[in-house]
Amino acid sequence: METFLQQLVNGISQGSAYALIALGYTMVYGVLRLINFAHSDVYMFGAFMGYYIANSTLGLALGPSIPGAILVMVGSMALCACLGILIERFAYRPGRSPSPFTLSFWFGILGAGFGQLLGGTLVSVALGALAGAVLGFVLEKVGLKPKPQSSHLKLLIIAIGVSFFLENGGQQVFGADPKFFPQIIPNRSIDVGGVSLDTQKLTVLGVALLLMILLNVVVHYTKTGKAMRAVSFNLDTAKLMGINTDRIIAFTFALGSALAGAGGILVTLMYPRIDPLMGIMPGLKAFVAAVLGGIGNITGAMIGGLIIGLAEVMAVGYGQSTYRDAIAFVILVLILLLKPTGIMGKGMVEKV
C-alpha cells in the first residue's frame, strides 16, 4: 500500500512535468493548428537560460532564495518569449504575411557559423553574420520573396527544421555535454506515513495547475483571448473583422514559449541535468499528452499529462520497466481508437 501511494505520488509529479510542457503545445495548436515541434526545444532553451542566469553574478549573489528563484524564472520566461516571437516572425510568418528581412536573418546565422568556422574569433563571427545579413537583404531586394503558404505539412516541416536548428545550434552554443542545474530553491523531503513527498515536486504540480487556470482565464475571459479564439476559428475572417492577426499569433507564441520556459526551469528543479537534446523525449510525450487530452484544449492537456505520467509510473512499478517509452503511445492509440479527437476534444464538423 505504501509502495502504491508512493508510486501515485511519483506518477503525479512526472505527469505534472508533462502537463507543463503540454500546455504550451496545446496553446499554439489551438490558435494556429500547427504542431510546433520547436516547442520542446524552447523548453530546453528555457532551462539553459535559467542555468546561465543562476550562474551570473546577480544570480550567484542572490543564491538559493525566493528572490533568486523569481529572477531565474522570470528572466528565463522573458527570454523564451523573445525566442518564441523570433521563431514565429522568421520561420512561420513568411508566406502568411509580408515579412521583410527573413533572408537577412537566416543568412546572418549561416554567416555567423562560417565566421566561427573560418576565423573562430568574435570579430570573424560578427563579420560573417553581417556579410550574411547583407547578402540576404540584397537577394530579397532583387526579388526573392517567400511563397504564400497554406499547407499544414509544409509548416510542419518548417517546425521540424526549426527544431533541428535549435537542437544542433544549442549543441554548438551551449556545448553538447550535460550541465547540472543549480538548486535555486531549497528542497525538503517530507515523510508522510512512509510516502516521501518533496517540496519541489509539490511546487511543480502547484504551478502547473495555476498556469492551467490562468491560461483558461486568458483565453476565455479577456479581449486578447477572444481574438485568439477568433483567429483559431478562421484566420481570414478574423482579419476582416479588424483583428491584427499577426500580433495575436505573435502573442500566442510568446505566451506558449514563456510557458515552455517556466516548464524548463520547474522540471529541471526536479531533475537537475540539462543538455541541448533534453527536450526531445519529454516534448514528444507532452505532445502525446496534449493529443490525448484533445489538442487545443487547455484542461485536456493537463489531464493528458497526468494520465501519461501515471500510466508510465504504474507500468514501471507493476509491469515491465523496459517498455516504459512505449506506454505513452499504447495509451494514445487505445484512447484515440475509442475517441478519435481525444478526451476533451470536440469533433470537427466536416465541410463539404
Partner: protein, 325 residues
C-alpha cells in the same frame, strides 16, 4: 515480349554497373550511392500515403525497422536451411535466393504491420493520425529493444552481406514502376481522389476506407523491402537507427523533392542524402546549416525543388482532369 527485353536490358546494365562502379567511384561513393537507393525506395513508398492519398504518416521508420529485422532474422536463422534447399545453385544464385526470401518475408511482415496501423487510420484524421503513426513507430522500436534473440540494445550483428548496388537499384526500379502504375491506373486514381476531396470521392462511390488501408499496406511493404536491403548491406542493425528522426528524414525527402510526385521523391531522397554528405566538410555546423537550408527551402520554395516539373508531362496532366469529371 518487348517489356521483358527492356527488363533484361536493365538487369544487364545494373549488373555491369555493379561490377565496375566500386572501382570507378571508390567504395565511399559506392556506399553513398547504395544508401541513396534505399532512401529512394523509402521516399517513393511514403509518397503513396503522404503525397498521393493525402494521409499523414510520420511512422515510416517503424516499417523500415520491421523489414530490416525480419529479413536479417530469416537469413540468420533460416539461412542454412534455405541454402540447403537450393544447394544445386552456384554461390551467387544461393545468395540471390536467400536475399529474395528475406525481402519477401520483410515485405509480408511489414505489410501486416502496415495493416495494423492502417486500420486505426479509418477513424483518425490529420494530426491525430500523424501522432498515432509516430506512436506505432516508437512502439516498434521499443519492442525491438526488448527482444534478445535479435540483439535488443546490443544490436543485431553478424548479418550476411547479400545486398549491393545491383539489388538496391533493381528494387528502386520495381518500386517506382509499381507505385507509378498504381497511381496512374484508373483503379489507383482512387488514392488521389481521397487526397483531393475525401467526401466527394466517397460520394462518387470510392471505397475510401479500403483505399486508405491499402495505401498503408503497399507503402509499408516497400519500406520493409528497403529495410531488408539496408540490413543486408550494412551487416549490422541497431534500434537507434530507427527512431522517429528517421521517419522525419523520409518526410523531409519527399517534401523537399515535391510532394505527390515520384520524380520529386527520387530527387528529394538523392539531394537529401548527398547534401548531408557534402556538408560534412562544415564539421560542427553541418546539421545547423542543414536545418537552416531546410527552413529556407520550405519558405521560398514550398512546392519542393522539382515543384510541378515531371518526366511524363502528358500523362501526369491527364490525371487531375479525369478526377474533375
Amino acid at each position: 515480349m518487348k517489356r521483358w527485353l527492356l527488363w533484361l536490358g536493365v538487369l544487364l546494365v545494373l549488373a555491369g554497373l555493379e561490377a565496375s562502379l566500386r572501382g570507378l567511384i571508390g567504395p565511399y561513393a559506392y556506399q553513398i550511392t547504395v544508401l541513396v537507393g534505399v532512401n529512394i525506395i523509402l521516399a517513393v513508398s511514403l509518397n503513396l500515403i503522404n503525397g498521393f492519398t493525402g494521409q499523414f504518416s510520420i511512422g515510416h521508420a517503424g516499417f523500415y525497422a520491421v523489414g530490416a529485422y525480419t529479413s536479417a532474422a530469416l537469413v540468420k536463422f533460416g539461412g542454412p536451411a534455405i541454402r540447403g534447399l537450393v544447394g544445386f545453385l552456384p554461390a551467387i544464385g544461393q545468395d540471390a535466393v536467400l536475399l529474395l526470401a528475406g525481402l519477401a518475408a520483410a515485405a509480408i511482415v511489414a505489410g501486416i504491420a502496415g495493416l495494423a496501423v492502417g486500420i486505426p487510420s479509418l477513424r483518425l484524421r490529420g494530426d491525430y493520425l500523424a501522432i498515432v503513426t509516430l506512436g506505432f513507430g516508437e512502439i516498434i522500436r521499443v519492442v525491438i529493444l526488448n527482444v534478445d534473440s535479435i540483439g535488443g540494445a546490443r544490436g543485431f550483428s553478424g548479418i550476411e552481406q547479400l545486398s549491393n548496388f545491383f539489388w538496391v537499384y533493381f528494387f528502386v526500379l520495381v518500386t517506382i514502376v509499381v507505385i507509378h502504375n498504381i497511381v496512374h491506373s484508373s483503379y489507383g486514381r482512387a488514392f488521389v481522389s481521397i487526397r483531393d476531396d475525401e467526401i466527394a470521392a466517397e460520394a462518387m462511390g470510392v471505397d475510401t476506407t479500403r483505399f486508405k488501408v491499402l495505401s498503408f499496406v503497399i507503402s509499408s511493404m516497400f519500406a520493409g523491402i528497403a529495410g531488408g536491403l539496408f540490413g543486408h548491406f550494412t551487416m549490422y542493425l541497431h534500434p537507434n537507427s530507427f527512431t522517429f528522426v528517421a521517419s522525419f528524414n523520409v518526410i523531409i525527402m519527399i517534401v523537399i523533392g515535391g510532394l505527390g510526385s515520384i520524380e520529386g521523391a527520387v530527387v528529394g531522397a538523392t539531394v537529401f542524402t548527398v547534401a548531408l554528405e557534402l556538408l560534412r566538410k562544415l564539421g560542427p555546423f553541418r546539421l545547423v546549416s542543414f536545418a537552416v537550408l531546410l527552413v529556407l527551402i520550405m519558405i521560398y520554395r514550398p512546392q519542393g525543388l522539382l515543384g510541378s516539373w515531371t518526366l511524363f508531362k502528358g500523362r501526369r496532366k491527364a490525371a487531375p482532369k479525369a478526377m474533375v469529371v
